[in-house]
Subunit: 455 residues, 2 copies
Amino acid sequence: MLNLENAVERLKDILAQADDNLLKEELDNLHSADIAELFEELDEDERLKCFNVMPEDDAAELLEFLSPQLQVEILSEIDEEKASSIILKMPHDSVADVLGDLDDNDSENYLNKLPERISNQIRELLSYPEDSAGGIMNSDVLTVDKDMTVDEVVSFLRIKAETDKVEFLYIYVTDKSGHLLGVLSLRSLFTTPKYVKVEDIMIKDLVKVHVEDDQEVAAETLSKYGLLAVPVVDHYDKLKGIVTWDDAQDVVEEETTEEILQSSGISAAEYDDDELLEGTIRKSVKARTPWLAVTLLGEFIATIVAKNYDGTLNQLPIIAIFMPLLAGLGGNIGTQSITLMVRGLSTGQVSMSDAFVQIWRESRVGITIGATFGLITALVTWGWHNNVILGVVVGTAMAVNMVMATIIGTVTPFILKKINIDPAIASGPVIATTIDVLGLAVYFSLVTFSLRWLV
Amino acid sequence: MLNLENAVERLKDILAQADDNLLKEELDNLHSADIAELFEELDEDERLKCFNVMPEDDAAELLEFLSPQLQVEILSEIDEEKASSIILKMPHDSVADVLGDLDDNDSENYLNKLPERISNQIRELLSYPEDSAGGIMNSDVLTVDKDMTVDEVVSFLRIKAETDKVEFLYIYVTDKSGHLLGVLSLRSLFTTPKYVKVEDIMIKDLVKVHVEDDQEVAAETLSKYGLLAVPVVDHYDKLKGIVTWDDAQDVVEEETTEEILQSSGISAAEYDDDELLEGTIRKSVKARTPWLAVTLLGEFIATIVAKNYDGTLNQLPIIAIFMPLLAGLGGNIGTQSITLMVRGLSTGQVSMSDAFVQIWRESRVGITIGATFGLITALVTWGWHNNVILGVVVGTAMAVNMVMATIIGTVTPFILKKINIDPAIASGPVIATTIDVLGLAVYFSLVTFSLRWLV
């Protein structure tokens, strides 16, 4: 792969020389994906200079690899005529993505400049929700009529390959009014006699998704059935587009980000990750406050629990200094168990029927680690404070706390899933607080019980 | 998609009737991916009954969709002759995966039963590290000689399509001794005159990876360049295999799991996630202990910090009950910032050059939320304990703590990345502990300073 630092330096050198031919040659030798990476390191002026010397075909390809911010930046700066003819060379779904990120005026402007057939298709794509199958599909699909023969299909493909950028993954078969009937593999074209009708060799049991399905459904379908593309149909079973493996890849990345952010208590489902990193402070605060508020409530309960033992605290204030130690380790090992279970449930490596096996397994892990850490804590505390009973009390609290945290962390995701709450959302902050409350209760009970030997 | 519950019930009904023809018919109507999903819900006996009535082609396809555990279960139970002929129908990389999961004896047994050419290829695949490009590639590649004409290639493809299961993604061009020279698209075959040599139409600037490259490099290459497959070469630039988009998808899922588990302090790089969910307790304990030990050390430091203020604690023991409240919210908001930055750096949405923008942005988010939560805490504490000074002290500590946690959580991933430590690994537990220690110091300093008005 490209050495980014060297390449940036080289490109900046050439830009400094202001020699358009040299610049063009340099860019011509680079893959669009590499240029897109370099663009992130250039300033706006440099990016525009590069973009302007590139042939339109290359510029169109580059645009697809750029981040939405850079797409908007470039399209708002370059000559409008040029921009329109570049847009015309891009796949429809990419155009819809780019235009969706421009403001409405600019986007209307571009749409009006495109041929009507294409602008209508793109308007339709823009009309689907951004996170639906319709919103991510490409409407430019390779379709043939059910009555065509293999020979006719091959001639048709020959023309398509020369004139069009349509993807050659599968060939879909429709009737005259566009209803999806089946799918052909390129492979079958090689092995079937020329005069056979495609209707007779197409695969009829095909997997498809609906335009209004969530994008996640489309991505899961592709991944489950190991497909390169899945057709998207409307209510009348008319073929509207395809979602391809690279669209699905983007969806998976987006959903994973959502899952990861949610695990730390950020309401990521309602906000784009872009918004959380670059949007208004107000949106970020709104996305992050709900679960913090739940934590605040939970921790006030912890405070009330602790307050109950103020008699004990008054008699032996020193016990307070071990509270963060217990809470820290309980929280940590509990989070490990939650994370293992939530991720396992999400990838399918753990299923609901594994619940008891996993709970039993994690309990043993918790007991092993809890006993060890409890012992270490007991010894250190005994040595430090020269008080064997204090050592035993803190060590026991540590062990009980860690075992409890492991079990709660393992059980809760299964319970949440059972009652149809997404374990990824609710687990983290709620469990951490629960562990805090229970841990404190255990610790203070132990201390109170042992008070006569401690004071 | 399939309604799993209904389908399981139906299948179990049919199994109960013990009618092989009915069972065969039912399975014939289901996609292998669906059968694989159903298999997870059946018991061992039922799975074997199903597998035994399936035609060998379908059985081979099903095997690819099954989890490693079920693959091993089935292959060790069914007739060896049948197993060998099913294995022969699977792609080489899948066979290598399956045999890699069997114990050495069984795997040797099967290898010896396969034709020598194939068993040699599979032995070679098995010789690469499991997480290298060589370990995940498929050695069965569509290659043509550079001197062939387009017409010859088309005839060759016709034969391949009939006799072989090789994938039709790209056609690679090699010389007589197997050195990789270029790649052809199927598309170009449709548009080039028949007598042209492939050498003249192949793309020579092709992206490739090395057998010994990490699997992650292969997956990133595919994703960056938007490819369906990437060729894998050895030291002599000889073509050894291809890594396809579905292999890459598995790698991405594996790496994401690793990233997620590491964020909770599980050393997931050295252990398979399978091992962490199903391996020995000893392995799980070893994977989970290192960062817990770091936390233990850090929290003991927190305890020492708190111990420093035992004079204050003795005079006003009640202040101890607010410790979990402060630690809980500091830890929570800090984790949110870490998670946002670590994930952003990992997907590329945040780059090192964004560091100061993000730190400034997160600081403002932290100040907004911290001020709000500080105010709420102050009011609640004032009302509850009827002590306005206590309210001000606890509220201020809350605000300072939350702002500090946000900034530490945002800054640390950038610093770690700058000094070439993976932010995903070190961030979580270390930062949580740091926040605990600093938060306690701030709180106790505030209380000590205000003591004369509090007691």
